[in-house]
């Protein structure tokens, strides 16, 4: 069952998996499988910002790409506004493409260096044959104004802009077709801290104006706290905790979330240094630990954690967690 599924959900993911085969040797035999996304059940509500946090390599970006169908999943379903996205043909997918957009992390590789800003932002309009060329140009100018770029710069090339401005271009491109959902794949991670706030505020303003829904992927807990309504924590391809922002930041239930929050730097120099250090590295997704993926690094590991995978359960109302510490019984998946 997907947590808290309601008619209000814009996106519903069920049992979503993405395995990458690893090949090796001269004959390219399969030597293993990377389970980048390993059974995600998640609902994104209309109009909310769902933060998705996790360490590098935990599969959070892959999840975003699966929702957009930039890659085919190994298993599971992606439902967008009641339609199973994965069953649609490429042609039937086209109208949906207008409603699903993405903003990328790297403001340098995400803009075609040989196209002018006007062409980049207006590309979606051209693809979906919206309006006449003059109307499209007018719309592009409007979008540039909307994201804080000067419309006179419409004929400039991406390399003439700073990282923050480029990210605004990316935002304008994503907005061009009036989408419902925007996957923000670490949209501010590559930016200076001062610019991060500007772009985050822009995203929040735009959300209010256009009733956008965001899936906000990030590894930065403070950024996610700033922008999100609910936060999901991911570890090695699985969700380990999901709750409303205040709930998650004030009462984290999963030891991993607790460790992440403890490790986050606090701006207050007088704050007590009671850090629960997270020992070890993220295990290789090629050979994840048995049982609960987190058990080798968990400060509160129990024998059961090594053998069984804990279920993702609604521990408190709207607060989901995947941990044996919070079980009422020994039930597992």
């Amino acid at each position: 069952m997907v947590q808290g599924s309601m008619a209000n959900d814009l996106v519903v993911l069920e049992g979503l998996k993405k395995y990458y085969p690893m090949t090796g040797g001269v004959f390219r035999r399969q030597v293993g499988t990377v389970k980048a996304v390993d059974g995600i059940d998640l609902a994104i509500r209309r109009g909310e910002t769902l933060g998705l946090v996790g360490e590098s390599g935990c599969g959070k970006s892959t999840l975003g790409r699966l929702i957009l169908r930039l890659e085919p999943p190994t298993a599971g379903t992606v439902e967008f506004d009641g339609q199973n996205v994965l069953k649609l043909s490429a042609r039937a997918m086209r109208p949906l493409r207008k409603r699903l957009q993405i903003i990328f992390q790297d403001p340098y590789s995400s803009l075609n260096p040989r196209q002018t800003i006007g062409r980049i932002i207006g590309e979606g309009l051209v693809i979906h044959r919206v309006g006449s060329p003059a109307e499209r140009r007018e719309r592009v100018r409007e979008l540039m104004d909307l994201v804080g770029l000067r419309p006179e710069q419409i004929n400039r090339y991406p390399h003439e802009f700073s990282g923050g401005q480029r990210q605004r271009i990316g935002v304008a491109r994503a907005l061009a077709l009036n989408p419902d959902l925007i996957i923000c794949d670490e949209p501010v991670s590559a930016l200076d801290v001062s610019i991060q706030a500007q772009v985050l505020n822009l995203l929040m303003d735009l959300q209010d104006q256009f009733q956008l829904t965001y899936l906000f992927v990030s590894h930065d807990l403070s950024v996610v706290r700033h922008i999100s309504d609910r936060v999901a924590v991911m570890y090695l391809g699985r969700l380990v905790e999901l709750a409303a922002k205040q709930q998650l930041y004030s009462q984290p239930l999963h030891p991993y979330t607790q460790a992440l929050l403890a490790a986050a730097p606090k701006p207050d120099p007088d704050s007590p240094k009671q850090r629960e250090h997270l020992a070890g590295d993220l295990p290789s997704p090629l050979s994840p630990p048995t049982g609960c993926h987190f058990h080798p690094r968990c400060p509160r590991v129990m024998p059961i954690c090594r053998d069984q995978i804990p279920a993702f359960k609604e521990q408190q109302p709207h607060h989901w967690v995947r941990c044996f510490l919070h079980r009422q019984d020994t039930q597992s998946e």
Partner: protein, 314 residues
């Protein structure tokens, strides 16, 4: 079209410093292409190559006006005349005559037409098919990629001149077949370059972003990926001209390309070979022409590589 009228909050980047920075931007948008041209003009070897090529192009275009005589007209009473500076030479034939008494200078000038044509035709063939094969292989990957690239490996496995000889031997010796053979033989070079660049570009976010917008395969390949693969392709095309001219001369030298009495440099070389001790000019001048034409394209190609390759920038 539905247009949203509402405006955002005051422009957050409109700080005085940002405004000043904007004012400092160059007044005209500079495309990556224009910047490449700018770097090219500052590159001396490239300019030298460009000048040489321009001279040859003008020679080819203006041949009927530049050549003092008919390149095919024989004058047996004036055969094997040395160049004008030799005591036995005269200003009638500035670079002397061959064993049929044909004016060497006129033949060389007309020969530039053949060489430029060979370069143009064979490079067009290999550029077109090579780009197509490489783009398809890189974009779709998998089995198709394997099939195309293994076939390219097969072509590459033979020494190119040998393969060209086989093709010409099969089709029959003529200039047209030589151009075709040279074109086919160099397809793999272009295919490999394009495939490599396509693979590199395909992984970039702007391509994925266009896919997310709903762009089809054709749009992705032609609007996004290929324009960003142009730099190495332009370099290879220029160098390809040089090798095509050289290979055409080689084939003609072997009697498999241009047929007599066509004034082709390689064929002239072959013809003068037997006379090298009696009439050095009959081999030297066509040979120098081949040398300079190939040199010109190679210099330009190297200069373009420096100017266009992003890895060598800054």
């Amino acid at each position: 079209m539905k247009v949203r009228a509402d405006r955002s909050a005051p422009d957050p980047v409109a700080s005085p410093a940002a405004v000043a920075a904007r004012a400092a931007l160059p007044p005209k948008p500079r495309s990556p292409f224009r910047e490449g041209i700018g770097r090219l003009v500052r590159n001396r070897t490239a300019v030298a190559g460009l000048i040489i090529i321009t001279v040859f192009l003008l020679m080819a275009l203006l041949a009927p006006w530049l050549a003092p005589r008919d390149p095919l007209a024989q004058a047996l009473y004036a055969k094997l005349k040395p160049p004008f500076w030799d005591p036995a030479g005269s200003f009638d034939h500035l670079l002397g005559t061959d064993d049929f008494g044909r004016d060497l200078l006129s033949r060389i000038i007309y020969g530039s037409r053949i060489s430029m044509l060979v370069g143009l035709v064979s490079v067009t063939i290999s550029l077109f098919f090579g780009t197509f094969a490489g783009a398809v292989a890189g974009f779709y990957g998998g089995r198709l990629d394997n099939l195309i690239m293994r076939f390219m490996d097969l072509l590459l496995a033979f020494p190119s001149i040998l393969l060209a000889i086989v093709i010409v031997a099969f089709l029959g010796p003529s200039l047209r077949n030589a151009m075709l053979a040279i074109g086919v033989v160099s397809i793999p070079r272009y295919a490999r370059i394009v495939r490599g660049s396509v693979l590199e570009e395909y992984g970039k976010d702007y391509v994925q972003g266009a896919r997310a917008l709903g762009a089809g395969d054709g749009r992705l390949i032609f609007h996004h990926i290929l324009p960003n693969c142009l730099a190495p392709l332009i370099v290879q095309t220029t160098l390809g001209f040089a090798s095509a001219i050289l290979e055409a001369a080689a084939l003609s030298f072997l009697g498999l390309g241009a047929q007599p009495p066509t004034p082709e440099w390689g064929a002239m070389l072959a013809n003068g070979r037997a006379l090298i001790l009696r009439a050095w000019w009959a081999v030297t001048f066509p040979g120098l022409m081949i040398l300079f034409a190939v040199l010109g394209f190679n210099l330009l190609g190297d200069g373009l590589r420096d100017a266009l390759d992003p890895r060598l920038r800054d």
